[in-house]
Symmetry: C2
Subunit: 278 residues, 2 copies
């Protein structure tokens, strides 16, 4: 994502929690900083993309965090997927430093990040969202302002809930097709013209058939995101049984060492329940 | 489906279990018969489309059934969705009368039947499938030969299993979006460009938002089809927890008088669990 910002002509200074993870950035003219505070010292826009709510809090408010380096008037664009309540909290605390914030969680996996084809859901004040839009458009293909601060996170939660059903439905269908001795690839082709058509059926059923799950989007990250969605649902009184089942199956996959598989590995869980060889 | 056969130039004689259901057929030159046996007396191809395994058995082998009227050499094309074991059984019994059979269950709902845009999965001997193809192509848009007799039913079962996950995932996502106060139509638009994209999200999320479920495809029929799929799965040792959950929720909808709603009414069940007004 930093590389795509640099390619789009932005002057980028980067900081990564794990130094040396992106050596190719130097070739694109990206400066590396030793701390978040140092990275943002002359920034107009600060893009944060880490794993979970406490990680964002560390980057923003930790000892060498963003608030210790950023000027008043800076805009923080948080592309992490965290709890909407975290976005509300962090935005209020940043405001005390004269810093604005939008939440801008992304969907599209590692391919989307690499190819600048991410789908981005943005929550915040309209003027802040418009200020963020050129940077977001450099990293993603679809940028939608979906409401006030935290709304981007809520939409991301909805996305992860819909994926739980889509992946499990296809996983169950593929396992039944295998057990019934059908030509699975032909079945996928025949079903893709009807009501069963989906991105998951088209793009992930082959991995479920092969029982091989290269990334994509990690089981462990979808599990983290479902935790956010189920927590939000519990606060709001929404009851999501398929999402809860998916989170349980993903916990099992992680316990068996498959947390770094692509989330299409939900089919590994259904295969296991059905006694198909690993 | 009979009208589309007549429009394609086939000479059609029809019989319906409920007389007078299709008065428009007369204008298309379709003759009406009083019994299945009478309808098939001079037929080369007999198309059957009823609800469940016992209904097909009645039409084929009942007192005035197909075997009492059809000539040896006739081909039966069963477009009903029934148990694959039923297709095997009926094909064997018809063979004793010199009658061939293919199973050709359809997907695409009442719109698909009316507009000849059905997706059709065909199981049978290659020469029988080729003989059926012109008639099937008059009723559907995609006709795929998926294996020996019963294979069409197995593929249809896979289709209904995938739909269970797809509908429930979207239903849970829409309920969470409503509870979170999001602009649901905008959310659907934003998510439709990513991994959550599906026919169900595009075509059925609006009904879930409105909590109004015009046909489409009836809850009671999907429930019947899931029963076939879960029975097949139990015989084969496939474990399908989301499909089983969907069947239970559909049982509840039927008990509450919603069996004739479109199956997107699965969202009504999730809304009810979540305390949203009816």
């Amino acid at each position: 994502m930093a590389a795509n910002l640099a390619r789009a002509g932005f002057s980028v200074t980067a900081w990564n929690r794990t130094p040396g993870r992106a050596p190719e950035l130097a070739d694109l003219g990206v400066s590396m900083a030793a701390t978040p505070a140092e990275a943002v010292a002359s920034a107009d826009i600060v893009v944060v993309c880490v794993s979970d709510t406490p990680d964002v809090e560390d980057v923003l408010f930790g000892p060498d965090g963003v608030v210790n380096g950023a000027r008043a008037g800076t805009l923080v664009v948080d592309c992490s997927t965290i709890a909407p309540s975290g976005s509300w909290d962090f935005a209020a605390r940043l405001r005390e430093h004269g810093i604005a914030m939008v939440d801008a969680p992304v969907s599209g996996g590692s391919e989307g990040a690499r190819n600048a084809t991410l789908t981005i859901f943005v929550g915040g004040e309209p003027e802040d969202v418009e200020r963020a839009r050129p940077a977001l458009s450099a990293m993603g293909r679809t940028v939608t302002h979906v409401g006030p601060i935290g709304a981007g996170q809520a939409v991301k939660a909805v996305n992860q809930v819909i994926l739980a059903g889509a992946y499990l439905g296809v996983a169950e269908g593929i396992v039944l097709a295998i057990k019934a001795g059908l030509d699975v690839e032909q079945v996928v082709g025949a079903l893709g013209g009807g009501a069963a058509q989906s991105w998951v059926l088209t793009n992930r059923s082959g991995r479920m058939l092969d029982n091989d799950y290269p990334l994509g989007f990690k089981v462990a990250l979808h599990h983290k995101d479902l935790g956010i969605a189920l927590d939000l649902a519990a606060r709001l009184g929404a009851v999501l049984p398929v999402s809860a089942l998916a989170a349980q199956l993903e916990s099992g996959l992680m316990a068996q060492g498959h947390g770094d598989d692509d989330m299409s590995a939900l089919a590994r869980a259904i295969r296991g329940l059905s006694g198909l060889e690993d």
